[in-house]
């Protein structure tokens, strides 16, 4: 029963798919069916619609979410009414989605349900804080396609990544693309005297010089870089962007003569939106990126089947990924691990 024990070390987990149909729901079901509920209280929600019979976009068959007795789950009013399990409604939250208010309930008799909870980062944080009153030991958030924000360490401390043929049907490309994401997740945490101060900053692009002075470049975001008149890296040892880190900022630092002396800092890996190509150039010139908060990547799950029917060889895929990532990689469907 791989990686379940690892999950139990954390109080919050997000499951993120790199693309639709990469087997994220299978992965969620795998985890939900194996968690030892007798001594762990678990609450589950999703930032998209999850547990639907058919994929809303590609109309392929999708597994439903099975919730076990004793689990807490949060879903929209409309989906709550369609649940196929018996559950005790414990809270009507103040969050809303397009499908109505978000409700929290405790499963009395296990069964299947559609889960669609809060979707913004802020509301997810409120959800995690809100369910604590029910004595929850582990919160699980099911992230939606290419929205890594739910995996932000500000929301969940641990994560499981799903990837698969739907992300790319060429094994090498798939391995390379996945490796890049894993590399970003694994960026080192900043260990510095100014770290706490940087954590409190809420917007803009900032610099830290060699005397530890923190300087505001008066940029609303890294997107406003073109308004800069001088080289922001001059005399700085850290450049911190609160919002997105884009190729533009990365290239700006990569092209400056101080690239070796300055470290780029971002809040966490979900703020990084750079292409691999730019990142490699940046690294080759001696550039470094560090994060303020880091999440623990527990495992990578793969689905070798793409929605168009294309199937990759599961064993080769797992092996190649494992080699490239240095992390355990599982094909949950094929291996049908014991409970």
């Amino acid at each position: 029963m791989p990686f379940i024990n690892e999950i139990l070390k954390y109080d919050s987990l997000s499951i993120v798919g790199l693309e639709k149909n990469v087997g994220k729901t299978e992965c969620l079901n795998y985890i939900l069916s194996r968690l030892p509920l007798q001594h762990k209280r678990v609450a589950v929600t999703s930032i998209g619609i999850d547990g639907e019979n058919k994929d809303q976009v590609t109309s392929t068959k999708k597994p439903e979410i099975f919730l076990r007795e004793g689990m807490y789950f949060s879903t929209a009013e409309m989906h709550y009414k369609e649940r196929r399990l018996v559950s005790e409604l414990v809270e009507i939250t103040n969050e809303r989605s397009s499908l109505g208010r978000i409700l929290t309930a405790k499963v009395a008799v296990g069964g299947k349900a559609l889960i669609s909870g809060p979707s913004s980062g802020v509301s997810l944080r409120r959800w995690v804080a809100g369910v604590q009153k029910f004595g929850i030991d582990l919160t699980i958030i099911d992230g939606a396609i290419s929205r890594l924000s739910s995996a932000s360490p500000a929301i969940s401390k641990a994560m499981v990544l799903s990837t698969g043929a739907a992300f790319s049907s060429n094994i090498n490309t798939l391995v390379q693309k996945t490796r890049f994401v894993v590399e970003m997740i694994g960026l080192p945490k900043l260990d510095d005297v100014v770290r706490d101060t940087l954590c409190d900053i809420e917007s803009g692009v900032w610099g830290v010089d060699f005397e530890d002075n923190i300087i505001d470049f008066k940029l609303t975001s890294a997107l406003a870089l073109s308004s800069l008149k001088s080289d922001i890296t001059a005399g700085m040892r850290l450049i911190f962007t609160v919002g997105a880190l884009t190729d533009k900022l990365l290239n700006l630092v990569a092209d400056s003569k101080n690239v070796k002396n300055v470290t780029l800092v971002v809040k966490d890996f979900t703020k990084i939106f750079v292409t691999e190509q730019c990142y490699r150039v940046f690294c080759a010139r001696g550039g470094k990126i560090k994060v303020l908060q880091k999440s623990k990547l527990i495992a990578v799950c793969v689905n070798p089947t793409a929605p168009n029917g294309y199937v990759l060889d599961s064993d080769i895929l797992c092996e190649k990924l494992q080699d490239a990532l240095g992390l355990p990689v599982y094909d949950i469907v094929k291996n049908n691990y014991d409970i």
Partner: protein, 433 residues
């Protein structure tokens, strides 16, 4: 002022926004008596309970109309009944009678067959033995959600259907039993919302230093230490002090004269605000006051010129004031507050227009206050004057004066604003000539 109220529940806020202006002494006095009672008590615990209050009036009307409620609605009803019962206990503990709440223990009892008294709901097993049995079987077949063989899956589908049917029957029964309490539940929701408003108003009074007004019908209005909370806040934020003013008037029209920047417009705005605060049952921004009730407050202020409509500022102002004149002539009980009427035309005709306005309105029941820079010579007018500049410091105090002569401080004030020196010198030269 609405924004500085800490109303906790959405239904409280809704009730407040839907509230209408009170116009009789009886209802306003009754309201303030209740507010006074809350003001003296520590309502932190009650406010905490009200945080969880949800607006479920649609659910309640559905219940009253005989609809079968679903799980979510039954949860809402149970929740309201529990919150209301808990608040009732707290009210009794503190001997608060300002708000009455019906007894809803029966409702809780119906929706809590196991007697655990926690705000959660589902169609409990205890409602029906058959339901309990069906659920037991579902559990046995379902296990941990593994793939099931076809026969088991069919069996499960039948059981799930039976479960749903039984749940519906029970919800029908529950809705039927709860229907007689729909009225009480609505009263509870309304009164809890009202309690929320009272607690918020009392909190606001303490926070902003507001007072309880004395209200009269067809009598005198006076304010001691009247202030404008927004202006006061802005000044305090800048480290400055707000100077409260005293003012009193009855039927006789009032003119306020005084230097520019002497706070005349703020006085008018504060009068309008406080009149409304009183008639909506809020604390009033003054040290103490007596307020004469009206049916409407008219505040004619500012420049409404509209280039699109082809209306000059003069025309817009005349038309706005004219509306007030017509209404008052029709007998409407109004407090009319007019800021510098006819200011945009020549002083000769402007003065005549203001004097004409004072003559035509004469004594009115609701009160009539205007500010002006013109020398108004009417008799039967009460005149206030802003004390004005003393050693380059503005004294905003209002003092009663008997002559209509307006102060000549405009140049001094312009000078203190740092206006171009040459301009000031030319002006002074012209004045001396």
């Amino acid at each position: 002022m609405y924004d500085t109220l800490d109303i906790i529940s959405p239904c409280g806020r809704k009730m407040l926004l839907e509230g209408e202006m009170m116009t009789t002494k009886r209802e306003i006095d009754f309201h303030y008596r209740r507010l006074n009672e809350i003001y003296d008590k520590d309502c932190t615990k009650i406010a905490h309970k009200l945080m969880c209050l949800k607006d479920i009036h649609t659910t309640l009307s559905r219940l009253e109309n005989g609809t079968v409620l679903d799980d979510i609605e039954l949860f809402e009803v149970k929740y309201l009944a529990i919150v209301s019962s808990e608040v009732l206990v707290l009210l009794q503990e503190q001997n608060i009678v300002a708000v009455g709440l019906p007894h809803l223990e029966k409702v809780v009892e119906i929706l809590d067959p196991d007697g655990v008294n926690i705000p959660s709901f589902y169609v409990y097993d205890s409602y029906s033995d058959e339901l309990r049995e069906v659920r037991k079987q579902i559990k046995a077949i379902q296990g941990n959600g593994e793939e099931l063989p076809d026969d088991k899956r069919q069996q499960l589908a039948v059981l799930l259907q039976r479960n749903a049917d039984l749940e519906l029957e029970i919800r029908e029964m529950l809705s039927g039993r709860l229907r007689e309490f729909a009225g009480d539940l609505s009263v509870a929701l309304r009164n809890l919302s009202f309690l929320d408003i009272l607690i918020a108003k009392a909190g606001q009074m303490k926070k902003l230093g507001l007072c309880f007004p004395v209200v009269v019908e067809d009598g005198e209005t006076f304010y001691n230490g009247m202030f404008n909370p927004a202006v006061k806040d802005a000044l305090v934020a800048k480290g400055k002090e707000y100077m409260p003013v005293d003012i009193e008037f009855e039927r006789e029209p009032v003119t306020i004269i005084g230097a520019n920047m002497g706070g005349k417009t703020v006085v008018l705005k504060s009068l309008a605000l406080n009149q409304l605060l009183t008639q909506f049952g809020f604390g009033v921004a003054a040290h103490d006051c007596c307020v004469n009730l009206v049916d409407e407050v008219a505040l004619c202020i500012g420049d409404d010129q509209s280039i699109e409509k082809g209306i000059s500022s003069f025309a817009a102002e005349m038309m706005a004031i004219n509306k007030v004149v017509l209404k008052i002539r029709e007998g409407r009980n109004m407090l009319a507050l007019v800021d510098e009427p006819a200011r945009t035309t020549n002083p000769v005709e402007g003065t005549a227009l203001v004097e004409g306005l004072l003559d035509v309105l004469g004594e009115i029941k609701g009160g009539f206050v205007l500010t002006t820079h013109y020398n108004i010579l009417n008799g039967n007018v009460k005149r206030y004057r802003v004390k004005g500049l003393r050693d380059n410091i503005m004294d905003y105090t209002l003092e009663v004066t008997h002559c209509g002569d307006v102060p000549h401080e405009a140049v001094a004030i312009a000078e203190s604003l740092g206006i171009d020196l040459q301009w000031i010198e030319c002006t002074k030269r012209n004045l001396n000539n």
